[in-house]
């Protein structure tokens, strides 16, 4: 498959781009909800609009009422989300939880998919334990209890956990903390007894929770896939999440870069447009090159994921790491090249820096994924 968007994908990209620039714009969404100290961190009305546009069900099979598209298409939505810093539960709900649910039973999908597709429901995933992404180690335990399970443990960095109608929780049903096997995924509804959230606002104004499970009783039908067989699904969820976060990161990088290049064409110092200074030109050109490469490998990872290739896992880590580097560079150069004004809350470039930071951390940072690339390559 050629590594560029097909005509259909280009059309989708145009549609999404226009929609997001209008409805998802920084002033209309991010700043709006932030300045109102919104406890969700995003607007439910926009989430409904996402549903009307078909975005919410973009990865959901047609049998479940979705569009049955792939990660390239989800990535198109995410790139525009990133470019506009649009706060939404798209990544956690439609990509992460959605991918998990695809492996659920008919009953489970029947229970949750309609809400996702219609934009009525918001989902989250609870994977991380501790401040760094280390999904190889799962300590949260689900003990058999009657026909169901009793869940205990603590999850961190549960993005939009406080707003979620359902949280996909990765728990250990057998084995030791570091075992690959023995993991089970559960779809945990919001109203279960024993689940409590400590909600925190993050640097990018998004919301996340530390979520504690204190002997939470779950029915057997909360299990996604097979008991003890969750690692494989979890890996798929992680791949989808990494590639998705990479796509959003590409959008953040391109948004920050475009804003900065525009500024270089407008701001005058020493009687010249600052974009005439060769030192800045070269840095901007280098940045362009890094962002282009990050975008290419992200599309590559999306295609591999859609093709079910066994290389997808490696390339997902490459993409997440490379985007981490490129977007990090884009926001740093962005703030520096804006000078003092870039440090003010009034200008948007700082918002890109904040979003990049949170996104860099989400689903594993550049160091984690570089390490994975080494391990998967055998060194």
């Amino acid at each position: 498959m050629p590594l560029y968007h097909t005509d259909d994908q280009t059309m989708l990209s145009d549609t999404v781009g226009q929609f997001m620039a209008e409805e998802g714009a920084i002033a209309k969404q991010l700043r709006h909800w932030r300045d109102r100290d919104c406890k969700d961190g995003f607007g439910h009305a926009l989430w409904k609009q996402f549903a009307e546009m078909g975005f919410t069900g973009i990865l959901v099979g047609e049998d479940d009422g979705g569009l049955g598209m792939g990660h390239v298409e989800a990535g198109i939505v995410l790139e525009e989300i990133g470019r506009n810093l649009t706060p939404s539960p798209f990544l956690t709900s439609a990509v992460l939880a959605g991918t998990a649910l695809q492996h659920g039973s008919d009953d489970l999908r029947g229970r949750w998919m309609p809400g996702l597709v219609s934009g009525e429901s918001v989902f989250a995933v609870a994977i991380d334990e501790g401040a760094k992404h280390r999904p190889e180690r799962i300590r949260t335990r689900a003990e058999k209890s009657g026909n169901g399970f009793r869940l205990s443990g603590r999850k961190d960095f549960v993005v939009y956990g406080g707003s979620a109608d359902m949280i996909v929780v990765a728990a250990r049903t057998s084995g030791a903390d570091d075992d690959a096997e023995g993991i089970t995924l559960f779809a945990v509804p919001k109203d279960v007894a024993g689940m409590s959230h400590d909600a925190v606002r993050l640097v990018d104004s998004s919301m996340a929770t530390h979520t504690t499970f204190d002997n939470v009783e779950l029915d057997g039908d909360a299990v996604i896939g097979e008991v003890d067989g969750g690692r494989e699904i979890l890996n798929k969820v992680l791949m989808a999440g990494r590639v998705g976060a990479a796509a959003e990161g590409v959008g953040v990088a391109r948004g920050a870069m475009d804003m900065t290049v525009d500024y270089l064409k407008q701001r005058k110092q020493f009687g010249k447009l600052i974009g005439e200074f060769q030192a800045l030109q070269h840095r901007a050109a280098h940045l362009y090159s890094e962002v282009e490469i990050a975008r290419a490998v992200t599309i590559k990872a999306q295609q591999l994921l859609d093709a079910g290739s066994e290389k997808a896992d490696l390339m997902a880590s490459v993409a997440k790491a490379k985007v981490g580097k490129a977007a990090g560079l884009a926001v740093k150069e962005g703030v520096q090249m804006h000078g003092g004004i870039g440090m003010t809350d009034e200008y948007d470039i700082g918002l890109y820096m904040k979003r990049d930071r949170a996104l860099a951390e989400f689903m594993g940072d550049v160091y984690y994924h570089a390490g994975r690339v080494a391990e998967m390559s055998g060194y």
Binding site: A131, V203, A208, L280, M343
Partner: protein, 387 residues
């Protein structure tokens, strides 16, 4: 016993008698130090007692001449005082831009009358000053400033806008660069002084990406400034500004090079437990740079003391130090993971790591951008041709 030994003994005794125990605690925030000024209040009695004791002794500005409110100490004596204060961890009795910036300018460029009046006011903490240099349209290119003072015979009428005026909302007076000749870029600026209560002056605090800040925007709307309130010569304010900028960069570059030169790997390992192996390697590479920079800081200060440092070397120190500090905080954020993303939580003391990280991004902008520093190094040290 040498004179200096005698002085040390006396100083030690004086500090023992006059520096209250509360004033020997580390400074945790802005309010722990007295900034003086008309609107100033003391945080507690100890702060008041310590300030007044120092003021009366001339120790708010120990190296300034006695007639200007100082103690007239020699450089050697001033060093002894610094050492003895550091020994007991004494807080500075008074902080202000008057001491760091306007004072040195007046000592160098001021008339006798100005020195008597303004330096004494600064030394006694009576007037708090702020600095009006940058403007929205003139950042790195400071000399392109547009705030204009129209000559009205016995006074100027000043109109324009300043930005990044730290604590403008708390200051009594401002020292300010004002264009007084539109036809000469460099020789058309006057270094003016005026009261912030003059009609037409208003200020507005600036919210930064890291949160609240001491920075303000300051607006001048037909502000009348008497024709005798300037330093140096009329239209030659750029000389004064340049003198102060050099002074400032030297201070910034020397100031916390030791903090900037500390390794962080060990601290982050303690704080976060396990370190990712690739992150560990990045920290090791950072620590090499940081520890090397701490040696550079030491060398720089040693050389400054004996006049061996290249006059443009502060630009190099500022460049390297601020870039290093940004990298330091990137790594602190990486090691801290999702925990340090928290913006308002108690666990992070109201988002301290994230706010500090964002605040460091200004390091390479304020006091001269990294780009300007590199320009200066290439021109003045490497003597490369052209602009």
């Amino acid at each position: 016993m040498s004179d200096l030994d005698t002085f040390r003994a006396e100083t030690r005794a004086w500090l023992e008698a006059n520096c209250p125990p509360e004033m020997r605690e580390p400074v945790r925030d802005d309010q722990d130090v007295y900034w003086g000024g008309r609107k100033a209040t003391f945080k507690n009695d100890a702060q008041k007692a310590w300030f007044e004791a120092c003021r009366d002794k001339g120790y708010t500005v120990p190296a300034w001449p006695k007639e200007y409110g100082g103690a007239g100490l020699s450089p050697a004596e001033a060093k002894v005082l610094r050492e003895e204060m550091a020994r007991i961890g004494a807080r500075p009795p008074l902080s202000s831009f008057g001491i760091w910036m306007l004072g040195p300018a007046l000592l160098h460029f001021g008339t006798e009358e100005q020195k008597k009046k303004y330096l004494n006011e600064i030394a006694r903490g009576e007037i708090r000053w702020c600095q009006g240099y940058s403007e929205p349209g003139s950042g790195s290119d400071l000399v392109s400033l547009q705030t204009f003072g129209e000559d009205k015979g016995d006074h100027w009428v000043v109109n324009g806008q300043k930005i990044w005026t730290s604590y403008a909302d708390k200051a009594d007076w401002i020292f300010c660069l004002v264009r007084t000749d539109k036809n000469d870029k460099y020789r058309g600026i006057t270094f003016m002084l005026f009261d912030m209560e003059t009609p037409g002056v208003s200020t507005k605090p600036i919210l930064l990406i890291s949160g609240n800040s001491p920075f303000c925007e300051t607006f001048f709307d037909d502000v009348k400034v008497p024709k005798d309130q300037y330093v140096g010569e009329i239209n030659r304010g750029w000389d004064v500004a340049k003198y102060l900028l050099g002074h400032e960069r030297e201070m910034i570059s020397g100031a916390d090079s030791s903090e900037r030169g500390a390794g962080i790997g060990a601290m982050l390992k303690r704080q976060t437990g396990e370190l990712d192996p690739v992150l560990r390697a990045e920290l090791a590479m950072f620590d090499v740079d940081a520890l090397a920079f701490s040696a550079m800081g030491e060398k720089f200060l040693d050389e400054v003391k004996v006049g061996k440092a290249h006059p443009a070397q502060p630009n190099m120190m500022k460049y390297a130090g601020t870039e290093l500090n940004k990298r330091r905080h990137e790594l602190i954020m990486a090691a801290g993971g999702s925990a340090v993303l928290e913006w308002e939580s108690e666990e992070t003391d109201g988002g301290k790591p994230a706010r500090s990280w964002l605040r460091t991004k200004a390091n390479s902008i304020e006091g001269g951008t990294s780009e300007v520093m590199l320009n200066v190094i290439s021109k003045r040290i490497l003597e490369l041709p052209g602009a």
